[in-house]
């Protein structure tokens, strides 16, 4: 079950070899070899992750943190080991600083409900950015409506970067919470997360970092970042759907109310009132996705065996190639021109062809890209488009696949230019 890339040279990926670990990459789409360029939506899974899921349900399945029988003990142990595995991945000081969620979306909702309701009062400012995914906008809008909060936004520059001067100015005006993405799912822009967290802290603001697009592609160190909350989803980083992690600065735990009520989050329950379990269980009501959490640990094993620096380097190379080839095809790309400020994601617009039509023609060649607003309607508005096409790369993508994308885009232009 140990991933095969472990034996390869530490700092470069043997992509052809690791592709063999992903069964789905050997399948066909529309009668052609699958070219999967939609990993920012969800990544494909290596055999070791699929095996871990099957192994859990074959040999370990029981409800965790409840019974004392053999299987329950085994499942609980593996589940808590997975929590420790996630904590180590994010360099959290202790496994107890990791709260299991269904994914990044639930993490935002959890923080809005458990920390936000308790700490935010009418008139308080919450700072967001123009490049947020809907999941890091809508929960704050809902809370703002409920609590009469002021929502402020860091603008995005024409180059697709956060306007840091504006961020400084807004933070200096007084902000209770600054919630922002570490890496844009549309532009690929890598935001200066450490700097932003330090700025927020200096101005007395609590930080929430959406690391859904960062964690799959690079090192995450919550202590170096100096953030209060940081969230990511397993399914974007080789793991299963339905599980994710919220890493919490333990100082914040004392400022939080429970999120959902139910089993597992309690200590003593009477008919009229209850006391609650210690964190993180306090925030984990109900039966968790234990098998998914355990398989997520297998995904982290695989990723770290590949080496996150090597993954990042590989994606940066593919991104540079994609930008060059797409520009040669006369396509407009969005986001920083400087490839070092971005990685893994290229959103583009083929002149006079809607992204849906681009996607259908590429799909006919077996190429999967995302077409649409990428759950970022405000950012689309900022860019002056209704939608874009987006190619996103991961450790298993090849330069040949990027060339296939460019050839596909040429076909799109020829087809609609008739």
């Amino acid at each position: 079950m140990s991933p095969s890339p472990a034996s390869t040279a530490p700092r470069t990926l043997d992509v052809q070899r690791l592709r063999a670990d992903f069964p789905i990459l050997a399948t066909e789409a529309r009668g052609r070899p699958l070219v999967y360029l939609d990993s920012a939506a969800t990544s494909q899974k290596p055999r070791s992750v699929i095996d871990a899921l099957v192994a859990y349900y074959t040999t370990s399945n029981a409800n965790v943190h409840r019974s004392v029988h053999h299987l329950a003990e085994r499942a609980t142990m593996q589940y808590e080991e997975a929590r420790a595995r996630v904590a180590a991945f994010a360099n959290a000081a202790a496994p107890e600083h990791v709260v299991w969620t269904r994914g990044t979306t639930e993490a935002v909702n959890l923080v809005a409900a458990a920390w936000g309701r308790r700490n935010l009062r009418a008139g308080d400012a919450v700072l967001l950015t123009e490049m947020e995914h809907h999941s890091n906008l809508v929960p704050w809008q809902m809370l703002a409506k409920e609590r009469n909060l002021r929502l402020r936004f860091v603008p995005v520059t024409d180059e697709g970067l956060l306007d840091l001067d504006a961020a400084r100015a807004r933070l200096a005006e007084g902000v209770r919470l600054f919630a922002f993405t570490a890496k844009s799912n549309v532009l690929g822009t890598a935001n200066p997360t450490t700097e932003l967290c330090a700025l927020a802290r200096a101005n007395g603001a609590v930080t929430f970092v959406d690391a859904a697009q960062l964690a799959p592609h690079g090192r995450v160190d919550v202590r170096a970042l100096g953030c209060d909350f940081l969230a990511f989803s397993a399914h974007k980083m080789l793991g299963p759907m339905g599980v994710g992690a919220l890493v919490v600065n333990p100082e914040r735990y004392d400022e939080m109310d429970p999120y959902q009520g139910g089993g597992e989050m309690i200590r003593r329950v009477r008919l009229e009132e209850s006391t609650y379990a210690e964190p993180p269980l306090r925030f984990e009501a109900g039966t968790p996705a234990a098998g998914d959490a355990i398989a997520f640990a297998a995904a982290l094993d695989y990723l770290e065996a590949c080496g996150l620096d090597a993954v990042h380097e590989h994606e940066a190379r593919l991104t540079r190639l994609a930008l060059d080839l797409l520009h040669e095809e006369g396509v407009r790309t969005f986001g920083p021109a400087d490839a070092s400020l971005r990685a893994g994601i290229v959103s583009f617009e083929v002149p006079d062809v809607h992204p849906h039509d681009v996607s259908t023609v590429l799909d006919g060649r077996g190429i999967a890209v995302r077409a649409g607003h990428h759950c970022c309607q405000p950012l689309m508005r900022r860019l002056g488009v209704v939608a874009t096409s987006r190619a996103s790369f991961y450790l298993y993508n090849t330069e040949d696949e990027v060339r296939a994308l460019a050839a596909g885009v040429r076909h799109v232009r020829e087809y609609f230019g008739r």
């Binding site: 052609r32 259908t360 689309m380 939608a387 296939a404």
Partner: protein, 163 residues
């Protein structure tokens, strides 16, 4: 990665020439001087948008129609075809047409004798299930506009019948 010997995939069943012609030069994309009813269509999964406005004459006929779509070839072409078919019809006739179009998109044959104009060029979309909502967006927007038009006419009728 793509096989060198694989033929270029063809999409001519989806993007018929008549569809691309409607897409390049959509009908009904204009500013109506006066409108009785307007409706906004939005496909939240892909961001396609469409504004539809219509003006009713004294007899309750749709005398003016504006279809302003911003989206993919399929949704824009479908809106253009809708304009050709619906302007000058009564709301009841437009509704009958709408039901036919819906049924055809969900697999029914075009009824014998039915005039669906260029819409028969859109049947190829049925082979692409995720694109059916693109073809239907203008029509679901029309549905909303017709409901308002019908309410408007219902409110208008009693006054005319009162001596």
């Amino acid at each position: 990665m793509n096989r060198a010997d694989a033929p270029e995939p063809q999409f001519d069943d989806l993007y018929r020439e008549v569809i691309l012609e409607h897409y390049r030069h959509p009908h009904g994309k204009r500013e109506l001087p006066r409108a009785d009813v307007s409706a906004e269509g939005l496909n939240p999964t892909c961001g396609d948008e469409l504004d539809l406005r219509l003006a009713l004459d004294a007899d309750g006929r749709i005398e003016g129609l504006q279809v302003d779509g911003r989206g993919c070839a399929i949704s824009v072409a479908s809106g253009s075809i809708l304009f050709d078919l619906v302007e000058g019809r009564t709301p009841a006739e437009a509704r009958a047409l709408l039901e036919t179009v819906r049924a055809v998109m969900h697999g029914a044959d075009v009824p014998a004798g039915a005039d669906v104009g260029d819409f028969d060029a859109l049947v190829g979309v049925r082979a692409y299930p995720v694109r059916i909502k693109c073809a239907l967006l203008p029509w679901t927007t029309l549905d909303e506009a017709l409901r308002d038009a019908e309410r408007l006419l219902a409110a208008r009728t009693p006054h005319e019948e009162t001596p």
